[in-house]
Structures are given as structure tokens and as C-alpha cells.
């Protein structure tokens, strides 16, 4: 933690994430026009940024600032759920596959390879389409495409740790594999999982935005950022603000998670540590 705080770039990421989390938590109170999630005001459509509407208004006359604020909550909820679900699948698979070298571990890792053999977005698109488009489907599809990364990470960590002396000692003392894996291996793999999860948050927000943009994710009138950029395309170049601000929001939030993940990785991986020497 201390090392992280000494790293200005990682600190910036941390601040961005904390800021976004606060915005998400208090979105309905922070948004100047909280009802603009659903209401439309056709009389004031596509107004440029002003004191009244700092980010301007969209094609239905809704306040873009309010929708960006409300969208933060959606983005973070989606990312947290997807990453948690991917962890729930990937972490146990990695633990089991990494613990012993047998047919089961071979099968698990081959399955992982197959999932990794297709770019995530393409797979998510295919899955999302087959399971009837919508936000829930998109989230399920993203989880189903992201778990292999956790499986890989945990697999590598488990294999590394199972050779460690203390694991041998525990096995010698008669501790069950489940106990060793959950109480001893898992906590030691936690830093790597945390780094992976942080980067996964950024990645998921980005991919979810692409899905929203392509019309496979969130549906109107959701204040989804990707969707907003898609809607804004029809109104360019006149209403530049409509596309600009939701995109900036994506950029800042993903940047926050990536910078934080980058800093965490430096702390967790001593090999590439940015020493202060």
C-alpha cells in the first residue's frame, strides 16, 4: 500500500476509481436532473453546453451531465458483476487445474485455451446474440469470456505455490487438499487475482461499452455510455458534445482502473518493480 502511494501515476488511478465509486454511489443525489434517466424534453433537444446543462443535452433533450453521472452506476455495477462471476468460474478452475497434473487439469486447461482462442469481443457478440440481446445477456457473455484469464492466473500461481516448502509441510501434516488450497494457496494467489480483477474491471467497462454501442448491450432509455455515443452518431458534426462527454467518461473510468491495476502489478510483481533507487 505504501509503495502504491509513492507511485504518482497509480495514485491518480486510485483517485479516479474512488471518485467514480463515489459518483456511482450518490448518483441520484449528484445528478442535477435525476429524472432524465427516462424523461424526455423535446423542446430543449441538442442544446450545446451551458451553465444550465454543463455537458449540453441529447437528442431527447435530456441533460447529458445527469446521464453521464447515472451511467457511472450502471458501468460499475456491470463491471463488478461480470468480474465477480468470472472469478467464481475461473478461480476454482485454476485451483483445481493447478493442483495436480492429471487428466482433469489437462481438460480444464484445454477448455481455457479454446475460449482464449477467440477474441473476447467476438465471442461475447456470438454468445450475446444467441441468448437474446440485452444487458443481462451481455453481462453473462462477458463473464463467460473473461473467466479464462482468471483460470490462467490462478493456475500459474497454484503451480508455483504447490512446489513451495510450506505446502509440502502442510500436506505432510495431513491437511486435506481443499483446506490447503482454500486457506493457504488462495490467499497467496490473492495479489495476482486482485491485479487481474482490477485490469478486468477496466476491460469489462470498455467491452460492455462496445456492446452497448453495437446495440447488443444496454437498451434505451438506459443512460449507458456506449449507447449514448451510438445515439450521438446521427447528430454529428453539429452536436459534438453529445458524443464527446459519455466517451470521456468511459476513458477516465477505464484509465482509472488500468492505472490502478498497473500500479498494483508493480507492487505484486517484484521482478518488474519500479524501484526508487
Amino acid at each position: 500500500m505504501k509503495r502504491l502511494l509513492r507511485d504518482p501515476v497509480a495514485c491518480l488511478g486510485f483517485l479516479l476509481v474512488v471518485f467514480a465509486a463515489l459518483v456511482a454511489a450518490f448518483a441520484p443525489w449528484l445528478a442535477p436532473y435525476p429524472d432524465d434517466a427516462f424523461d424526455s424534453h423535446l423542446l430543449q433537444r441538442l442544446k450545446p453546453p451551458s451553465a444550465e446543462f454543463p455537458f449540453g443535452t441529447d437528442y431527447l433533450g435530456r441533460d447529458i451531465l445527469s446521464r453521464v453521472i447515472l451511467g457511472t452506476r450502471n458501468a460499475i455495477t456491470v463491471a463488478v458483476s461480470v468480474v465477480l462471476a468470472a472469478m467464481l468460474i475461473g478461480v476454482p478452475m485454476g485451483l483445481v487445474a493447478g493442483w495436480r497434473d492429471n487428466w482433469l487439469s489437462d481438460v480444464l486447461m484445454r477448455v481455457t485455451d479454446v475460449f482464449l482462442a477467440v477474441p473476447q469481443l467476438i465471442l461475447a457478440l456470438a454468445l450475446g446474440q444467441l441468448m437474446a440481446p440485452g444487458l443481462t445477456t451481455a453481462m453473462a457473455a462477458l463473464s463467460l469470456t473473461y473467466w479464462p484469464f482468471f483460470a490462467r492466473t490462478v493456475y500459474a500461481e497454484t503451480r508455483r505455490l504447490r512446489g513451495a516448502l510450506f505446502v509440502d509441510a502442510l500436506a505432510g501434516l495431513g491437511a486435506s487438499p481443499a483446506r490447503i488450497l482454500l486457506l493457504h494457496v488462495l490467499p497467496n494467489a490473492a495479489p495476482a487475482i486482485l491485479v487481474r480483477a482490477t485490469i478486468g474491471m477496466g476491460f469489462t467497462i470498455l467491452t460492455a461499452a462496445i456492446l452497448g454501442f453495437l446495440g447488443v448491450g444496454a437498451a434505451p432509455p438506459s443512460p449507458d455510455w456506449g449507447l449514448a455515443v451510438a445515439e450521438a452518431r446521427q447528430h454529428l458534426p453539429e452536436s459534438w458534445w453529445f458524443a464527446t462527454f459519455p466517451g470521456l467518461a468511459i476513458l477516465l473510468l477505464v484509465l482509472g482502473f488500468n492505472l490502478l491495476g498497473d500500479g498494483l502489478r508493480d507492487v505484486a510483481d517484484p521482478r518488474l518493480r519500479r524501484s526508487r533507487k
Binding site: P8, I122, P133, I210, G215
Partner: protein
């Protein structure tokens, strides 16, 4: 080297077979009633039953799986539900467009990513390093579809410097197809005007698409160079009086690049993913627009074929990457003997 390549190809086969099976699971197992899905929303029960027998969907699952694998292996990807044309043919026309775009992006990524990574490593923890770090993390954080729109807004709509969409001005026609890559085909046909026009069209999509790749290549080059700089042989080379520029730009970089090269394979997946949105925005007639059209038309045959083709391209690229790595680092080929 030939043996090495063969071995590497054989190693890629199980993953490809798995991919084919995965596409089978996606179409036949996940949907509650594949026949109803094929027939569309307006189909009558009789039509659905007809489709069920026509496509062999009444057969046991294992037999369907075998048929599916056989069809895919012989290049029969079925016909588009939407256009009725063979999917393989449509993809054959669109794949070169996507490859032209992704290779251009890859080229830009390497062209700028490697020197940036090198500069950052040489200024370890210094201001250059921090700026490159911010840029590289930022490059991975930027949404391609948004950047594409912003670039269009500035360079096409406001400044009117570069074309808004497409691969070529319609008035120019198309070059005679040899490779399907317009840049190459126009040169082969000796049409410099066409080449210039195709290049102009390529700039914005390629720049948009190259950012994530550029960012990761800069990162991996940076850490590769840092790792290499710790090695005894670098110290030795300095003591032996290598010129600092040649030491960094040739001697150290080549080791560092062995790490970067492996990443290019993974990167290709990101590039193809990115191409979906970028192509859609620039009306680039590649696999990405095809995939998006397929989604909008609920054309699952086309979508699966795209998934499959992308998987195969990805596998091929990864084999090429391994071969490239063996060429850069003589020990790699040695290890597999």
C-alpha cells in the same frame, strides 16, 4: 526450422478442433430450439418441423456434432440466413479488407510502440518513462469506437482532410483483385492514384485501431528492455565499449523484442475485436461490419462463421509469431528439438 513449424502447426490443431466444437455447442446446445431459431419469428410449426429434418436437427447430438465438424473441415460454413449466399464466399471477400486494416494497425503499433518502450526504459522512472506509461495505459483505456468518431469529427467533418468512410472513392472503381489488399493490388496494377486514395482511406481507421496495440507493445518493450538491461552481457558489452546507441537500439532491443513478439500474437485478438467497432464506424467492408450486420439481422450462421474464421486467423497468426520468435532467438527452436 521446417520441423519446428510443422510441430507448431500440430500443436495448434487441438485448440482449433475445440473451437469448432465450441461453435457447435453455441448453435445447437445453448438455444432451446435451434430449428425455431433458424426458421425465424414468423415461422409456422410445420415450417419449423421441415427445417428440423432438413438440417438434421432431429438426429442424436453426437451425430450432429460429427456432421458439423465434417462440414467445417471441408470449408462448408453454410449459407447466410439473411442473404442466402454461401457464408464462406462472403467472408472470402471481406477477410482481405480486415487483414489490410489490422496489418496496417499492427505496423503502426510496432513502428511507434517499440521506440517509445525503448525510450521509456532508458529513462527508467524518469519523466519520459512516466509520460510513456500514462500514454500506454491511456491507449488501452480509450474506447476505439469513440476515438473513431472523434477523429472523424475533427479530420473529416471539420477539417475535411481525410475521407469519412470506405476503402476507396467510389468513382475510382476497384483494383483488379490479386491479393484483395487494395494497397498491394493498386500498386500491382500501377495505379498510383488509387494507391494514394486507398492510403488516405486507411489512415483514420488504422490510427484508431493501432492505439491499444501501440500501448501494449510500448509496455512490453519497456519491460523487456528493463529486464535485458539487468543482464551481465549488457554490462560486458558496455565494458567492451559498444557505442551507447548501438547497444540500446540493436543489442538490447533484440532480446527485449523476443518478449514483445509473443505479445503480437495476443494483440492480434485485440486488433480483430477492435476492428469490429472501427469497421462499423468507417464503413470498412471487412469482417467486423459483416459481424455487426449479422448481429442486427440475427444471422447466426454468419456470426458463427466469423467466429470460426477469426479463431483460425488467430491461430495462424500465433503460429507465425512462434516462428518469428524462433528466428529472433536461436534457442527457442533448439528447445523444441
Amino acid at each position: 526450422m521446417a520441423r519446428y513449424i510443422l510441430k507448431r502447426v500440430l500443436l495448434a490443431l487441438p485448440a482449433l478442433l475445440g473451437l469448432v466444437l465450441l461453435t457447435f455447442v453455441l448453435t445447437r446446445v445453448i438455444p432451446a430450439d435451434p430449428a425455431a431459431m433458424l426458421a425465424g419469428d414468423a415461422a409456422t410449426p410445420a415450417q419449423i418441423a421441415d427445417i428440423r429434418t432438413r438440417y438434421g436437427l432431429d438426429q442424436p447430438l453426437w451425430r450432429q456434432a460429427v456432421t458439423h465438424v465434417r462440414q467445417v473441415m471441408t470449408g462448408d460454413l453454410g449459407s447466410s440466413i439473411f442473404t442466402g449466399r454461401p457464408v464462406a464466399e462472403e467472408i472470402g471477400f471481406r477477410l482481405p479488407a480486415t487483414l489490410e486494416l489490422t496489418f496496417a494497425a499492427l505496423f503502426l503499433s510496432v513502428l511507434f510502440g517499440v521506440p517509445l518502450g525503448l525510450l521509456a526504459a532508458l529513462d527508467h522512472n524518469g519523466p519520459v518513462d512516466q509520460v510513456v506509461r500514462l500514454l500506454s495505459v491511456g491507449g488501452l483505456a480509450i474506447a476505439g469506437f469513440w476515438l473513431a468518431i472523434m477523429l472523424q469529427l475533427v479530420f473529416s467533418m471539420e477539417l475535411d482532410l481525410l475521407p469519412l468512410r470506405g476503402r476507396l472513392d467510389v468513382a475510382l472503381g476497384t483494383p483488379p483483385t490479386v491479393t484483395g489488399l487494395y494497397l498491394l493490388d493498386s500498386l500491382l496494377a500501377g495505379r498510383l492514384d488509387m494507391f494514394g486514395n486507398a492510403l488516405k482511406h486507411l489512415v483514420l481507421p488504422a490510427v484508431t485501431l493501432c492505439l491499444p496495440g501501440l500501448a501494449s507493445i510500448a509496455r512490453f518493450t519497456r519491460s523487456g528492455v528493463l529486464e535485458t538491461l539487468q543482464k551481465d552481457f549488457v554490462l560486458y558489452a558496455r565494458a567492451a565499449g559498444y557505442s551507447p546507441f548501438r547497444l540500446a537500439a540493436i543489442y538490447v532491443l533484440r532480446n527485449a523484442v523476443t518478449v514483445t513478439v509473443t505479445q503480437v500474437g495476443l494483440l492480434f485478438g485485440a486488433l480483430i475485436s477492435g476492428a469490429v467497432a472501427v469497421e462499423a464506424i468507417f464503413d470498412w467492408p471487412g469482417l467486423g461490419t459483416y459481424a455487426v450486420q449479422a448481429i442486427l439481422a440475427a444471422d447466426y450462421k454468419a456470426l458463427l462463421a466469423v467466429t470460426l474464421v477469426v479463431g483460425v486467423v488467430y491461430a495462424v497468426v500465433n503460429v507465425l509469431v512462434d516462428v518469428a520468435q524462433a528466428l529472433v532467438d536461436p534457442r527457442v527452436a533448439e528447445q523444441l528439438k
